[in-house]
Amino acid sequence: MANETKSESAHGEKGHGGHGIGKYIAVWVALLCFTGLTVYTGHEDLGAINLPLAVTIATIKATLVVLFFMHMIDTPTANRIVFVVSIVFAIVLIIGVFGDLWTRNEMTLPSAAPSTLGPEIQVSGPGESPVPVHHE
């Protein structure tokens, strides 16, 4: 029902043109394409490239949404600065903290500590908590 209405309107309006409805559809198609791309490449094991590639594709998709769906392309500069700055500081947080873990002495890393849920775990069955290997 709603689907029909939607596709109806899409077909109908495309003819009218309005002021850029075609733009929205084009962005939507692009987003779906990039989604397909990221699903395909994400599942291939490309080694170290996987993460940067996935993040890059996601960033492209996000940029499309922000610029066109959220109209950042024709919004006052103040609003743009606000959003960009918040992303910048989110990145500062991630890089700043990750930098610590990346440059730490290996023995002080979280992965160096023996975990109670490593290979030595004994799992009895669904619904039961694991028996920890250590003292309390």
Partner: protein, 222 residues
């Protein structure tokens, strides 16, 4: 978020915006309201940033567990959810366009579709959560998923539940906002002259979509 305290000189007619007493022009008020909304979106970005940080850190040190665990998520359901959200983003953008053209009936239909997409998203999410409960792939001390034994697997699911949980909470809030916008569209309160509230509601929904655009590949794919 428009602060309409009382009518400026006369009661606004249907579809006319109210100008708050401390603003001089409607344009000034609209500008203020939009800036306020973008600032709020900025705070949401930073709220999620901490969880993305957790993901980055633990993925780096428990690479094997994260890799294995992401293979255990349903790629089909995740991709479907992505398509659902992206499409809902389109329809809410179109709904705003429709209001700006004065086509409130079309806008209402598009908003209904968007809200149904939101329900769909949550429905699929609950299916996935139910599956996790069955498997025992749960966060922290509740983890007892026997299929993944690499160290740090429980952290993967902690991050998974925290991130998708916080995101789902925002989906619910977004839905409520869109329902409120829908009411206004149906009642004729929103119009080409008074469309800022619709714009703000749409912006919030786009943010919900944005977060998922990053969550999906990080959790389901790599």
């Amino acid at each position: 978020m428009s602060s309409s305290d009382h009518a400026h000189h006369h009661a606004p007619g249907p579809g006319e915006p109210t100008l708050a007493h401390h603003f001089d022009t409607q344009d000034q008020q609209n500008q203020a309201v939009r800036l306020g909304m973008w600032l709020f979106l900025g705070t949401e970005v930073l709220l999620f940033a901490g969880l993305f940080l957790g993901y980055t850190v633990y993925r780096n040190f428990y690479h094997e567990a994260f890799h294995e665990a992401s293979r255990h998520l349903s790629l089909f359901l995740g991709t479907t959810n992505t398509i659902v959200l992206i499409t809902s983003s389109l329809t809410v953008a179109l709904a705003l366009w429709a209001v700006q053209q004065g086509k409130n009936k079309l806008a209402a239909a598009l908003l209904v579709f968007t809200i149904l997409c939101a329900f769909g998203f949550l429905g699929i999410k609950s299916l996935e959560y139910a599956e996790k409960f069955r498997e025992g792939a749960l966060p922290g001390k509740w983890y007892h998923f026997s299929e993944i034994t690499a160290p740090g697997a429980n952290l993967y699911y902690t991050i998974y539940f925290l991130m998708t949980g916080l995101h789902a909470f925002h989906v619910i809030v977004g839905m409520c906002v869109l329902i409120w916008v829908l009411k206004g569209v149906v009642k004729g309160r929103f119009s080409p002259k008074n469309d800022v509230a619709v714009e703000l509601g749409a912006l919030y929904w786009h943010l919900v979509d944005l977060v998922w655009i990053f969550l999906f590949p990080l959790l389901y794919l790599i």
